[in-house]
């Protein structure tokens, strides 16, 4: 008869100096596509739960510190409340919580700029990686702040091409392994699409997209989302997968291009009621629309591509961000200078040997 252990194995030791950052975007997953089709709603309460799952996981794996962005929409407040409750609860007495630092901004704007600022602070304060919870727009906003710090892009909703849907606990495992040195950091950089708008007065606006740039005929930024098939004219993609949702699904059907390939794809589009060739594409969850196609080409790295349309708006990763007119010159350039992105399956496969195990010898 085996002897029962009086207590479990010792906890995984805390690795001094190890840290990660977490940025949940409180505004993602709420745009007008929920009315137009049946795009998923992702409540902030669930984002707070995802953060808590990541915290518990990285804490258990020995991460010392977590930097967490704060917001006025209750995610950080919910996390704080739950940590307080759970820390005192008997049922979670065995959980080792990391030290959580709630970061605040001196001048919050309530816009994407906050995400950029948080990413920059986390990168500057020793985070081995930053995990972002949100959609394509959230990921794009973090890029300028991250520098060389790797990102893990977790999707909060079904409407995204760049971030992945993977259980937060598993994402937390990858983060914890990297932060404690048990798994290697990613070495390659993602592709970016750089948009340059040169105004008549010589002013230049620079924007970048992680997934796609879509030039369309809509005259205003409106509710930002882009789903009207007849308005689409030019689609530039860093990668295009046949199984993706949104604007890149058009290119994904015509010229599939992988995330790791050193090229992108450009598609010229037209109003489906006049175009000779049309393709059915899932422009948003639940919304399959006919799109008029004039042709597609490979997009080479570092070659500026002039935009042909003379007036309209430019959507970056699915959201209208820039209005332009006939006096403005717009170019799109693909480059391999994006962030380093953590691929969870790759990290876990590469670090299988380092996974904590114990062997019990029974008397």
């Amino acid at each position: 008869m085996s002897e029962m252990r009086s207590h479990g194995p010792d906890p995984v030791p805390v690795v001094e100096g190890s840290a990660i950052g977490i940025i949940p975007n409180p505004m993602s997953g709420r745009d007008v596509r929920r009315i137009i089709s049946q795009a998923s709603v992702f409540p902030n309460a669930e984002k707070a739960s995802m953060v808590l799952r990541i915290l518990r996981t990285v804490g258990t794996l020995g991460v010392e510190r977590v930097l967490l962005s704060t917001d006025t929409f209750g995610i950080a407040a919910g996390v704080q409340r739950e940590i307080k409750r759970l820390s005192g609860a008997r049922s979670s007495a065995h959980v080792r919580w990391p030290k959580v630092e709630f970061l605040t901004l001196e001048r919050p704007t309530g816009t994407a700029a906050d995400t950029t600022a948080f990413a920059e602070t986390m990168a500057g304060r020793g985070s081995a990686a930053v995990v972002l919870l949100g959609g394509d727009g959230t990921m794009r906003a973090a890029v300028p702040g991250l520098g060389d710090t790797p990102m893990l892009a977790l999707s909060t909703g079904t409407n995204n091409a760049f971030p992945v849907m993977i259980e937060a606990t598993v994402a937390g495992i990858a983060l914890g392994m990297i932060a404690t040195g048990a798994a290697p950091e990613p070495t390659t950089h993602a592709k970016l699409l750089h948009v340059e708008v040169t105004r008549a007065n010589g002013g230049v606006r620079h924007e970048a997209a992680l997934v796609d740039v879509c030039v369309n005929t809509l005259g205003v930024l409106g509710s930002r989302a882009l789903w009207k098939a007849d308005s689409l004219r030019e689609s530039y993609c860093t990668f295009a997968e046949p199984h993706s949702i949104g604007l890149t699904s058009i290119a994904g059907r015509l010229r599939p291009t992988g995330r790791d390939e050193p090229r992108g794809v450009a598609v010229r589009l037209d109003d489906p009621s006049v175009a000779a060739h049309t393709v059915l594409a899932p422009l948003a969850p639940g919304l399959l629309e006919w799109v008029g196609v004039l042709g597609s080409t490979e997009l080479q790295l570092n070659v500026p591509h002039p935009v042909e349309l003379d007036r309209g708006t430019i959507a970056l990763d699915g959201e209208r961000e820039v209005e332009f007119g006939p006096d403005d010159a717009v170019t799109v350039t693909l480059a391999q200078d994006g962030p380093r992105v953590i691929d969870v399956p790759t990290v876990l496969a590469a670090s299988a040997h380092a996974w904590p195990t114990t062997t019990c010898v029974f008397a």
């Binding site: 745009d31 007008v32 929920r34 919910g78 809509l218 205003v220």
Partner: protein, 338 residues
């Protein structure tokens, strides 16, 4: 001079296809609301206006962006205690509104309602409402009437972050969904229910998150951006009109004045309002957008400003000169027949 602002109605085009005249109409509505509220603020401060007054300045894009899609005859709105903007955007005459606020016989309600009860049922405006959460159940009724009559009408309930916590609002959301009504719920989250921050009082943090619990879509828009509200509201109203059922739109912004006139607002951050006025203001943004893209000129917009200023001036002058209700008015208008 236009006194009644015409809503574009159910034929309202996509945001990018708004004509020059329609854009001017939109601008006139937003400018009229702002000028009306700024003037009421001044007149209240000098003691000319009796009672309780809650101003809508800063929130113009919401009422304007939503009501632009509504017809006056078949579409209805229910409003809140902060109702002047909704009234103007739904086409209630401005001069009688001002007279009502001054408590005069020439007022929209003959001086018997005041700021919190301005209504014009002939224009589908079911009244500002002194009760937080009073409007949403009523809108279930107007939407039901439209559904039974089959006239394609839509009922729109404007309510605030405070009312989002009221049982009446929750009941209305549920009933609208159960009855599959052509209803549209617009949660105007201006950050404060009276003096309490909505980030404290609204447990779900986003009011739009609650929509899922009632089986309807919930969407958030930037309330400082007319075009964002216009586009999202247009989709929701079209959906309701076509029989697609109710939906909820959360409009996030802030109010420029206090909960009521006289509120010292010590519960607010120091630069909060100044920052919004300088960097986010919906009228500034609209002007900038339409002039930079060449759709309207500053001269056209300045002309509207001048016309609106004159209208408000006349409205105040006439309101002040109008007679107050007398003893015979006290007893009338209680019942149709008694």
């Amino acid at each position: 001079m236009t006194q009644t602002l015409s809503t574009l109605g159910s034929d309202a085009p996509d945001a990018s296809a708004l004509s020059e005249a329609q854009l001017l109409d939109v601008y006139r509505t937003m400018r009229s609301i702002r000028a009306f509220e700024d003037r009421v603020h001044e007149e209240f401060a000098t003691g000319e206006i009796p009672g309780f007054v809650h101003l809508y300045a800063g929130e113009e894009a919401s009422a304007t962006g939503v009501c632009a899609h509504l017809d006056q005859d078949r579409d209805t709105i229910a409003s809140t205690h902060r109702g002047h903007g909704h009234c103007i955007a739904k086409g209630v005459d401005i001069k009688p509104m001002m007279a009502e606020i001054f408590g005069k016989t020439t007022g929209s309600c003959r001086g018997k309602g005041g700021s919190m009860h301005i209504a014009d049922l002939s224009k589908g405006m079911l009244g500002a409402n002194g009760i937080v959460g009073g409007g949403p159940p009523l809108i279930c009724g107007t939407a039901l009437a439209a559904k039974i009559k089959g006239d394609g009408g839509v009922g729109v309930a404007f309510f605030g972050d405070g009312a989002s916590n009221q049982g009446t609002t929750m009941e209305a959301l549920n009933l609208a969904s159960v009855w599959d009504l052509p209803a549209f719920f617009v949660a105007e989250n201006n950050g404060y229910g009276e003096a309490a921050a909505s980030t404290w009082s609204v447990s779900a943090d986003n009011i739009a998150d609650r929509a899922a619990g009632f089986g309807m879509p919930g969407v958030i828009v930037d309330g400082f951006d007319f075009f964002a509200v216009y586009e999202a509201a247009g989709e929701a109203i079209r959906r309701a009109r076509e029989g697609g059922g109710p939906s909820l739109l959360e409009v996030k912004f802030t109010r420029y004045y206090g909960h009521f006139e006289g509120d010292q607002q010590t519960y607010r951050g120091k630069d909060e309002v100044r920052n919004a006025r300088e960097n986010l203001d919906c009228i500034k943004r609209f002007r900038q957008g339409v002039t930079e893209s060449g759709r309207l000129t500053d001269a056209q917009l300045d002309e509207v400003d001048a016309q609106v200023a004159q209208l408000i001036e006349e409205a105040v002058t006439e309101a002040k000169a109008a007679p107050v209700p007398g003893p015979k008015d006290l007893l009338t208008d209680v019942y149709v027949k008694y």
